[in-house]
Amino acid sequence: MTDTTKTTRQVNVTSKTSVSVLFAGDSGDGMQLTGTQFANTVAVRGSELNTFPNFPSEIRAPAGTIAGVSGFQLQFSSKPVYTPGARFDVMVAMNSAALKANLKDLHRGGIIIAGTEGFDEKNLKLAGYPEGANPLEDGSLSNYIVFPVPVLQLTREALKESGLSGKDVDRCKNMFVLGLLYWLYSLPLEGTIETLTSKFQKNIQMAEANIKAMKAGYFFGDETELFANLGRFDIAPQKQHGIYRRVTGNEACAIALTAAAKKAGLELFLGSYPITPATEILQTLAKKKKYGVKTFQAEDEIAGIVSSIGAAYGGALAATNTSGPGLALKTEALGLAVILEVPLVVINVQRGGPSTGLPTKPEQSDLLMAMYGRHGEAPLPVVAACSPVDCFYTTYEAARIAVEHMTPVICLSDGYLALSSEPWKVESPDNLSEINPRFQPARKPEDPPYLPYKRDDRLVRSWAIPGTQGLEHRIGGLEKQNETGNVSHDPENHELMTKIRAEKIARIAETIPLQAIDNGQQKGDLLVLGWGSSYGAIKTAVEQALEEGYSVAHAHLRYIHPFPKNLGEILGNFKRVLIPEMNSGQLIHIIRDTFLIAPVGYSKVQGVPFNEMEILAKITDLIKEIE
């Protein structure tokens, strides 16, 4: 297949380190598929990669409108990348709404590849351009390099003998664009050809048409004079040798739960109710039956968590996944899991709130709910993932803590991590930490009575599962007597049990790693303390600030409750602490409360992740203040 990548004439090829690309079009234009294919191709070639899909919550919003714009952003690079890019270098705009919605995030001087059919009178009107105005013609894009390409017409020409219906032919236009982008970035077509061939196994005509459209796009780049001045680009792949896979955050969560169950020798049970943007965890696990995974699509969020508590009581590694509104519904049951002291992993993929809020947009606004959102005093561990790949490690940790400490654990992800993807060097089973469930062995009649709430030195009770002879016992949501677990309304006992439940969670700090500085010196002017999905933006911003000579460091919390033991010490080593959060300031409350310091908060509550430029600007402002 190398012939397809041979160019017929000499075109200048410029090497670049990294490029951020946005594929944007109408929801029906196939931009998610196009972006995914492009991402697969660069990943397999060995580039560093970070992707971020951005689509409306409506399945098919009115075609041609801003509300219907669907985008897929990715950054690929010769060096590690942690974000899809604060601004993109290239934008594919299949229609005028896509251009209008995204132009503000295109670099000055960036490239626009515009599908001209999407800029006809009707589309311009739907996108809300004033009558008679066409950005492709009126000079308003003079700060950018614009390539108007009649994508639809060229696709139709390429496929005129395909025998497909007009509608099917038009649907291939995204592959034309993909081919053109492959040409522009000197990328091979083979991977996508293979994918299309297997995807349309039962419809060879369709497979051939898509491949033909893609090749037409590729050759168009090659043959047209349009790109003569620009030439092509090459981003040399630099990834280390090894076996990789690309995962989204949601996939990584699902894999982690399955892996944790295998490692612990338990069966995995997921009780779940579909909710955006957490549903892929249920979907992914529903396909893992060959690993013995049991998924239960419950009638509601409450049944999702309560069925999991039942499974946990029976000795399974039990989990439930949800997003904000669902976590709200699960709170009563979480309290039950706290008092029962059974292991349970609750993955909350945060989205904009309150109420239905912004279902497809990320926010970090459930932290305080995760920490405190239960009636009575019901402490439980809270961990937060910071990247798609980290969703694996953090969820795995959540499962370990749940099983080894007999407690529900909330694992926070968000809509950004859930759908973003990055390459993951395939992990070896040996590198995963052991997970040791503490099952209570059977008891002989002559043995002393079994005490369900007797604890070890970490204050953890044992897991006495039904079917074990001699351990028959009754537990429930009523306050229990210390050790025996019998119902007790004794005042002193209630206070004691409240303290024990809190101390048990606090002692988890003994088993988790110390907090590390991710980047920068151990002491200095400014510490940027982050949690969750802002990792990439903070990491990139701090890297840049360090290059510019600022005294700054980055620490990112995985363990939010309990905190790592040395966090106070780290905070004390800096003159100021900056806490960027995609909420109005939640971690900052907890940090102030715990350490009695006055950090600086930086909020963004727009349903859009931070970008590195925003954080860098905040860092430099603050350091100038300190100086």
Partner: protein, 343 residues
């Protein structure tokens, strides 16, 4: 997870007493719950189950305290949620005998959604629904099965809500087993609980249970020997629907309409009557609506029993099918099916 074969060896035959926990029941004196508890212990002994293989799950309410009094495993959960908890447990552990103790408020009001969905899924659970037509634990508010007109602390002028018909709701939800019993009729209750236990799938046993404090004598029409004969009909598979003190009354079906006949006066024999067939869902539905008509006797016994695959068996079958070429390893899991090598 357990090896039943090894646990049964050398174990004495258990009696009802062996199923009593060390906790003293805290129900009011005269409460129907005591009688149900006793029958459950009897049934456990009759079924010859080992206590470690039995789990009682409950929600909130008077009847939901039951697990504390059984010497089996037990979980007292949260209001309305016993059924999903029991479902999760049964799916994770099909080897266990899982029972649910619930009430009319717990199962039909706050847990109504779980009730209908559990029944249609049909996990192998034995659900004992204590129906006293009142909220007892919160002291006497009307429940979703309270009769219209009942005056309670929250319905001082009388209940205006149409009550649920538990039998109709069960059958309408796709339930595979419905039976009705009465707390004071111990022997009959025991036989139904045993039938329910042996039914594969969700078995729903509604027990008319008297609350002597807040809704005393709600079921008096079916209780006193004088009333009982003329106001109840006991269902037996393949037997005609005969009732009355003299066993001289019967039910015939006029199209879909049940009609009470006097065998002596109308010169009919029992062979002219409706013959009970618990696998006939249409007849079961008609029986369910007997409760809506004053002139019809209240049916007790197994209304409906259908043989249908249980939820956990269907899921297990899918898993076995996915694993027919062997169990996948952790290594395969981590590698996935779309990995690529960078050389």
């Amino acid at each position: 997870m357990t090896d039943k074969a090894t646990t049964i060896i050398d174990r004495p035959v258990l009696t009802a007493k062996d199923f009593a926990s060390d906790q003293e029941p805290k129900w009011c004196p005269g409460c129907g719950d005591h009688a149900v508890l006793q029958q459950l212990k009897n049934v456990m002994a009759e079924l010859e189950v080992q206590p470690e293989n039995v789990v009682f799950v409950s929600g909130i309410g008077c009847s939901s305290r039951l697990p504390y009094y059984m010497a089996t495993y037990g979980v007292h959960g949260i209001h309305g949620r016993a059924l999903p908890m029991a479902t999760g447990l049964k799916v994770a552990r099909p080897d266990l005998s899982v029972w649910v103790a619930t009430g009319d408020g717990d199962a039909l009001s706050i847990g109504g959604n779980h009730f209908i969905h559990t029944l249609r899924r049909n996990p192998d659970l034995n659900v004992v629904l204590f129906n006293n037509e009142i909220y007892g634990l919160t002291k006497g508010q009307y429940s979703p099965t309270s009769k219209i007109g009942l005056r309670t602390v929250t319905s001082p002028s009388g209940v205006i809500d149409q009550p649920f018909n538990t039998a109709a709701l069960t059958i309408g939800s796709g339930g595979s087993f419905f039976a009705r019993a009465f707390d004071r009729d111990g022997k009959f209750l025991r036989s139904l609980l045993k039938r329910a236990a042996l039914h594969k799938g969700t078995s729903l046993v509604e027990i008319y249970q008297n609350c002597p404090i807040f809704n005393n004598a709600a079921f008096e029409a079916f209780a006193t020997p004088d009333n009982k004969a003329d106001h109840t009909v006991y269902l037996e598979q393949g037997k005609p629907l005969v009732f009355g003190k003299e066993k001289n009354k019967g039910i015939i079906l006029d199209g879909f309409k049940p009609v009470v006949v006097d065998l002596d006066k109308e010169g009919l024999s029992t062979s002219d009557l409706w013959v009970h067939n618990e696998s006939d869902i249409n007849k079961a539905s008609i029986l369910a609506h007997f409760a809506d008509a004053e002139f019809l006797p209240r049916p007790f016994g197994v209304f409906y029993a259908e043989t249908r695959i249980s939820y956990e068996d269907a899921l297990t079958a899918q898993i076995c099918d996915a694993q027919k070429n062997g169990h996948a390893t952790l290594e395969e899991l981590l590698k996935g099916d779309s990995s690529y090598e960078i050389k």
